[in-house]
Symmetry: C2
Subunit: 156 residues, 2 copies
């Protein structure tokens, strides 16, 4: 993989995502989780991210919640750094993180990654569903298979 | 709260969500997390959910990933049970779960909850963003404040 994958969030949410990815894909190699929890000051959290962003030219950060402190801190650092290959995706559902992490394992191309991020984001939004579908949801139009293919092999 | 809130997912993802909610709202009272992890068979997982759904008439379940095993199992149980006040939302980002949990603390009305779920789901999709916004994202049109107000008080 050529892009470092990073998950930032409140409490142990990032660790929870790692745990799910480990179960679904069998590895979390190349992903780092930064929990902003009771043991972590904002200063320490920012220092960790600053180091990571300075050490890696290509980074894809997932932030648990748009507008939350982890998202605000990492967005400011990425904007200040102004590196052309560092991205932040916020409020991502698990399936989006799963899909992009799986793709990252074989590597992204610099000139197509932005299109891939947008495409996955669009699919991901369509996957958010409410059941039962007596409610007027988007379930009839959501293209499911591409986002969940990692899940088919072992029945997990 | 009148609706039981339940989070189901792979690995310790549900525990991670609980940890974030604890930090953001200060409580996880009335929420249960069911981790489908290495220590939990599908049978045990299904039994736990069957019990819960039979004990509570009003339930709102968040499943980590549309099409994943936790989502499939709980959706089947809810459809078979055919209770009018049991819902499953899948592939939800954290901000959606945060918002609906916060609302559940003061209680939902049976005749308006479906509209509230749909409304929150629509807002939640608009919050999924990619930075930097040199990419053609939806960041210019996303209504942010309502979904993140819990986050303002203490800077978390």
């Amino acid at each position: 993989m050529n892009y470092e994958i990073v998950i930032v969030g409140h409490g142990r949410y990032p660790d929870g995502v790692l745990s799910a990815l480990q179960l679904l894909i069998g590895t979390t190699e190349g992903i780092k989780a930064f929990n902003l929890d009771e043991q972590t000051t904002h200063e320490k959290f920012e220092k960790q991210l600053t180091e990571l962003l300075s050490e890696h030219e290509r980074v894809l950060v997932f932030a648990d919640m748009t507008g939350g402190a982890p998202h605000q801190i990492v967005s400011r650092l990425v904007l200040e750094g102004n590196q052309p290959h560092q991205y932040v995706i916020s409020s991502a559902p698990l399936n989006l993180m799963l899909d992009l992490y799986a793709k990252s394992l074989t590597g992204f191309e610099d000139d197509t990654i932005e299109g891939e991020l947008q495409h996955t984001l669009t699919l991901s939004k369509q996957l958010i569903e409410i059941l039962p579908d007596r409610m007027n949801t988007n379930s009839a139009t959501a293209p499911v298979p591409d986002m969940t293919h990692q899940d088919e092999g072992d029945g997990i």
